[in-house]
Chain length 363, copies 4
C-alpha cells in the first residue's frame, strides 16, 4: 500500500512515466458536486511544462478522461476515476539508466526494493508526471472546498535562496486567484524575475535549483483535526511528502520558530466579531494539531532537480563497479514553480478529507 | 482516531496530564523479545524533568507498570500495555485556564473541538507528559532494533539559534550512546554551554526558547518504504508531528536543499565492499521515499515553550471578551532538550513498524 | 495490528487470561457523554460466569477501573482506558497444555505463529476473558447510542439445535431490556428451559454445546454505510469474528435466504408516516451494505466450547508425536449465553463508529 | 472510503453499470510476477453471462485493458490498473427505476444516502457488473498464489435448497481445476442438473433463486493471521460481504457447528510427516483467527436475485406514495453460479494480502 492517502476520501494515483496511462481514483467523494472541467483544465495547466525555457520541452497531454464517478458533470457518489494517456514517450532516452542509477533519483532505491524488476523508464511510478493525476484530484477538491468558502492558494516562497515575500496575515481568495493567474507564481514580481534568472543561469551551467513553496488555506473552521497523531499537521505532512522532491514540511513559523522566544512566537488571542481570533499567526492556524480558525499556512521544501546535464559519479549495478553518467534528454532546471499547484492540490485533498470526516469532538 | 500510529505495529497512547494515569499500548510486537527494564529506565530518565534549573520542578514518577504483553521479561505476542501513575498533580494551578486559553497551547482549539468538555487541566491529553508513554514504546522499539544492528540516536542541533555541529556522515552506535549519556545532549559541549546559558537567560526574562533536534538511524537496509504516500518520510513525519511543539520536519538537507544546486545536493554513488553507497548524504538516506542504506537523518523543529511567565493577551471564553493572562506554576523554559529522546522514540517505533511490515517489492 | 477495530472510534483490547490485567482503550469517543457506571456494571454482569451450574466456577472480578478519558463521570475527549485486574488465576491448571495443544483452541496456531513464545496460559490473549473489556467498550457505546434513540439487543436464537423464537419484525427497546434482565437471555422461556437442560446434559457427558445469537439494532437512520467493502455488513462481520468461538455471521435471512425465492426474500416497500418502510425485513435492515432504516438484524454462530472433559487426541509438540489430553480445570459447557452481551457490545461499538463517521453521501 | 479492501495489497474497484468503464487498481503487488493473460481470460469467462438460458442475455465485453503496473506481461511494482469498457448499455430499460426503488436492491438505500444524486442506472456502482474487475484482481492473485503452491477453488454448495456434496477433507488443485472447467460448477453433476432445473423453473415463474458457495484454499502455512480482529476470518468476511447479494459468511462448520457437541466439532490433532495435522476440519483451517495449515474452508450465502419479473410493491419517492413496479429488461434468475469465481477471486486477493503482510509473530 503506498500510492494512496486519505481516510474518508481516499485518493490513489497509478501509472508510470512511460506506461500507457496515468490516473487517479477518488473514493469517497460526496455526490452531486458539479465539477467545472474548464476550471479544472486551467488548474492543470499551471503544472504543465512546455512553452517556457524554464521547463522541459516534453509536451504532455494532460487532458483527463473520466471513466467513472462523474456523470452529467457531477459527482455521483461512486469512486471517480480519471485517466491521462501517456502520449509523448521517448523511452530510448532512458536506456542506459536501467543499469546506472541517477544520483538523487529513486532509480537505485527502486532497484534495491524491487530487485531490478520495476519499470523505471523515465522515473516510472516515481516520476513527477504522477503529479498530473494528483492535480486532477486536488483540482476537484479545490472546487468542492471553494463552494463552501474554503480556499487554498500557494506561491513560490523561494527559489535558489531568493525569497518571495510571505503571504499576508490574512490572505484572500482574490490574492490566491491573482497569484495563480501569473505565469510565475510569486507575490513579488521583482523577486520572481530574480528567481527566473537564477533558474536560467543554473540551466546554462547544466545544473538545477530548488525552492520553497508556501501554501495557505482560508475559511477553515476552528476545531478540525484530532489530537496527537491524527492532527492536521500529521495528515498534511504524510501526504505532502508524497510529492516527488519534497524534503521538508513545516507549519506556521516552522523551523524559524525554533530560534524565536515564546513571547515572540505565541499568538495573542483576541475577539473579533464575537469570535476568537489571533493577532498574529506564527502557529500557522494549528495548535495541538487542531485548527484555530486562522489561515492554515505551511511550507514545503523542494530539492533541486536531480536530473542535471553534468557528468556525475554513479555505479554500474550489473557489475557493481564505479561508473560515470551524463543524463541526456529533457529536464527541468527547476521543478519548484511547477510544484506550486501540486502542493495546493494535495493540501486541498487532505483538507476535504478532514472536513468530510468531520469534527468528532461532540456528537 | 487520533492517538495512535503505525500499520503492523500500532502504538497508542492514553491519559491526561492530571488524570489518574497515562500509558501506552503496543499492538503487533513480535514475541520473545527480551526487554531490559533497567536500560528502559535509563532511556526514560533522559526525558525526565527535575534536578536541573533548565526544567520544571514537577517531580514525575515515570516508572511504567506492565499490565500485559510482557511476561518473564519478554514480549509474548499479545498487545503490550504499560501504565504510569500520575502522582504529582497540582490541578489548582490551572483553574483560571479553563476559561482563558493560553496562547500557543491547545487550550482554545480543544475548547472549539470539544465544546468546552475536554479535560484540559495541565494541558490534558495534549500535555508534554504524554511523551513519557511514547518513550516507553520507543525505548522498547530501540532495544528490538539494536538487537538487529539498527541504532537510533539524536542530539540537540540548535537551541535559540545556537547550533550544535551536525552528525558526521556516518554516525556510530558509540556516538549515539555517548551523546545519550550526556546531561545535555549535544555533540559540541561548548555549544551546549551556550545553549544552556540561553535557556537560563530566557527563564530569567520569564520567557522561553525553542530548538531543533537532529535524529539519525544507522543499520537500515536499502529498499525499505513504499513509493509516494507510503514512503519512510511520510510515515515518520506523520508520527513526528504528533510530538507536542514540533512544527517542522525535514529529511537530509531538507529546507537547506532548496537553496542548493543539483550538483551540490545530489549524492554521488560509489561501491564499497561490494555494496552501493553514497559519497555524501544530502538525501538523508531516503530517495523516492525508500531507504538507500545510508544513515537516515531527519530534523524536527521544536517551538519555544508556549507557557511563559509574562502577561499575555488572551480571551475570556465565557464572556467572549479580551482578557489578560499570567501563567503561574512550573514550566520548562525550553523543552527541546527533553524532546531529544522523544524524537528517538517515535523514530524507532516507526522504523520497527516499517521493518515488521517488510519489503514487499518482491515476494 | 490485530486487537483493534474501528475507523473513527478505535476500540483496542489488551491482556492475557493469566496476566496481570486486561483492558480496553477507546480512542475517538465524543466528549461530554455521561457514563452510568451502575448501568455498565449491570451490563457486564450479563457475561459474568459464576453462580450457575451452566458456567465455569471461576470467580471473575470484572470491575473496570478507569485510568483515562473519563472525568467526573463523563467522557472528556481523550482516549478512554479501562482496566480489569486479573485476580483469580490458577495457572497450574494449564501446565501440561503448553506442550499439548487443546483441540479446537488457538493453542496450536499460537504456537505456530509465535514459535512457542506466546503466553498461552488459560488461552492467553485468545481467552474468552478478553470479552470483558470488549463489554466495557460496548456497554459505553450502548449508553451513547441509547441517548440518541438507538438500541441494541440480543438473545439466544438457538442452543444445541433448540431454537428460540426470532425477534419480531419491529423489536422494541422494552423487549431488549426485558430479555437482558432474564437470567437466561431467550424470548421463549420454554425454549430456554430446554436449552438449559441440553447444556446440563452436555456437561454431564463431559461435553459441550454451541449456539446461535440473534442481535438487532433499532433507531438507525437510513443511508448509513458505504458501498461494497465499506458496508455495514462488512464492518460488523469484521468485528464480530473477533469474538472467540464465532464461526459464522449472517444478516437478515442470511443463509436461509439462499433457499428462498426472490419473491419471498424481497421486502416490499411501503410508506408509513411519510417515510419509506419495508413490509418485511428479510434484508435485516441492510441493502447494498447500507441501512434501510428498518431494524438491523444479524446472527452469529458460536461453536461448542472446545474445552471438554473427555480424553482427546492431540500431539506433544516438543517431540512431535501423537498424545492424549484430558483437560482438567473449570470450563463452560456452553459459552453462547454468555456471548449474548458480547455480540451486543461489538455491534454497538461498530454502529457508534459508523454514526460518528457520518454519512458522506452528500456534504 | 468504501470500494477498497486490503492492507499491504489494496484492491479498489471503480465504475458504474452504465458508466463509461469499470476497473480495478491493485496497489502493493510484488514486482516481476508474470501474468498469463490467457489464463486470466479463462477465469473471467467463468463469471460471464450469456450463452446460457440461466443467465441474462446482456453481452458483456469483459476484456481488461491494462493501463499501468503491467509491463511486458509482468507486474512492475507500480499500482496495476485494469479497465473494462462498458459497451452494451441500455439505460432506457432503467428509466422508471430512478423514482421507484426495486425491492431487494440498493436503489432505496443509495437514494437515502446520496439524496437522489447517485448514478443508479443498472444498479450503478452496486451492480453485479463490478464483480468483473474484482475477478481481474482475484485472477491475478490466484496466479501469484498458485506459483507458491497455494490454490483457491470453489463450487456451488447449494441452489434453491438443493445441495451439492461438500469438498473432501483434502481438496486438491486438480479438483479445483476440474470443477472450474465445468459449465456449471458443482462436484456432483446430478445435483447440478437438479439445480439448473430449479433455476429454469424459477425463471419460468418470473422468479429467482439463491444459493450457497463453498470455497477452499490449500497450501497455506500454519500461523497466518492475527489474533482477535486481525484474524483471517475477520479479513475474509470483511471483503466477502462486499460481493453483491452475499448475506452470510461462515468458516468450517459455521452455523452447523452451533448444533454440534464439542466432542464432535473439535478436530483431533495428529502428526503426519513430522507436521501437525488435524484428523477432521470442522474448524475450516482456522483456530483463533489463525491458520492451522489444514485447508481453509468457507461458505458464502447468496440471496435470490432481487430483480424478478413479477409485479412488486414499492414506493414512488418523488410523491412518497405506494406504487407498483414490474421490472423489465434482462435479469439472471440466479447469480449464485456466476458468483463462484467471484468468491474465489476475493478469497485469493485477501489471502495474497495476508501472505504479503507476513507472519509477525516472531521477527
Amino acid at each position: 500500500m503506498s500510492s494512496e492517502f486519505g481516510n474518508i476520501l481516499r485518493v490513489g494515483v497509478f501509472g508510470q512515466s512511460h506506461g500507457r496511462a496515468i490516473g487517479v481514483v477518488m473514493d469517497g467523494l460526496p455526490a452531486g458536486e458539479e465539477i467545472d472541467l474548464e476550471e479544472l483544465r486551467r488548474f492543470l495547466d499551471r503544472r504543465k511544462p512546455g512553452g517556457s525555457p524554464l521547463s522541459t520541452a516534453r509536451k504532455e497531454t494532460d487532458a483527463p478522461e473520466f471513466l467513472a464517478g462523474l456523470e452529467g458533470g457531477k459527482t455521483c457518489g461512486a469512486p471517480l476515476c480519471a485517466v491521462i494517456q501517456n502520449a509523448d514517450q521517448r523511452s530510448k532516452d532512458y536506456g542506459e539508466l536501467q543499469d546506472k542509477p541517477r544520483p538523487g533519483h529513486a532509480d537505485y532505491t527502486a532497484w534495491a526494493k524491487w530487485d531490478g524488476r520495476a519499470d523505471m523508464r523515465g522515473g516510472g511510478h516515481f516520476s513527477g508526471r504522477l503529479t498530473a493525476p494528483l492535480c486532477v484530484a486536488g483540482g476537484i477538491a479545490k472546487q468542492i472546498l471553494a463552494r463552501r468558502g474554503i480556499f487554498v492558494g500557494a506561491h513560490l516562497a523561494a527559489v535558489a535562496g531568493i525569497p518571495d515575500r510571505p503571504f499576508p496575515l490574512r490572505p484572500t481568495a482574490e490574492l490566491f486567484a491573482e497569484t495563480a493567474a501569473k505565469p510565475f507564481p510569486v507575490l513579488d514580481n521583482g523577486a520572481g524575475e530574480r528567481m527566473r534568472a537564477a533558474i536560467l543561469e543554473a540551466k546554462d551551467s547544466l545544473d538545477s535549483v530548488g525552492g520553497v513553496i508556501e501554501c495557505a488555506a482560508i475559511g477553515l473552521p476552528a476545531g478540525l483535526g484530532e489530537p496527537m497523531f491524527g492532527g492536521v499537521e500529521n495528515r498534511l505532512a504524510a501526504a505532502l511528502f508524497g510529492i516527488p522532491a519534497v524534503k521538508g514540511v513545516e507549519f506556521g513559523e516552522g523551523f524559524r520558530s525554533a530560534a524565536l522566544r515564546g513571547s515572540q512566537n505565541n499568538d495573542p488571542f483576541t475577539v473579533e466579531d464575537g469570535r476568537v481570533r489571533a493577532e498574529s499567526n506564527h502557529a500557522g492556524g494549528i495548535l495541538g494539531g487542531i485548527t484555530t480558525g486562522m489561515p492554515l499556512t505551511l511550507r514545503a521544501a523542494v530539492k533541486p532537480t536531480p536530473s542535471i546535464g553534468q557528468a556525475q559519479k554513479t555505479v554500474r549495478l550489473s557489475r557493481m563497479e564505479a561508473a560515470e553518467l551524463t543524463i541526456r534528454g529533457r529536464h527541468d532546471p527547476c521543478v519548484a514553480h511547477r510544484a506550486v499547484p501540486v502542493v495546493e492540490a494535495v493540501t486541498a485533498a487532505v483538507l476535504l478529507d478532514l472536513l468530510l470526516e468531520g469534527n468528532h469532538g461532540t456528537f
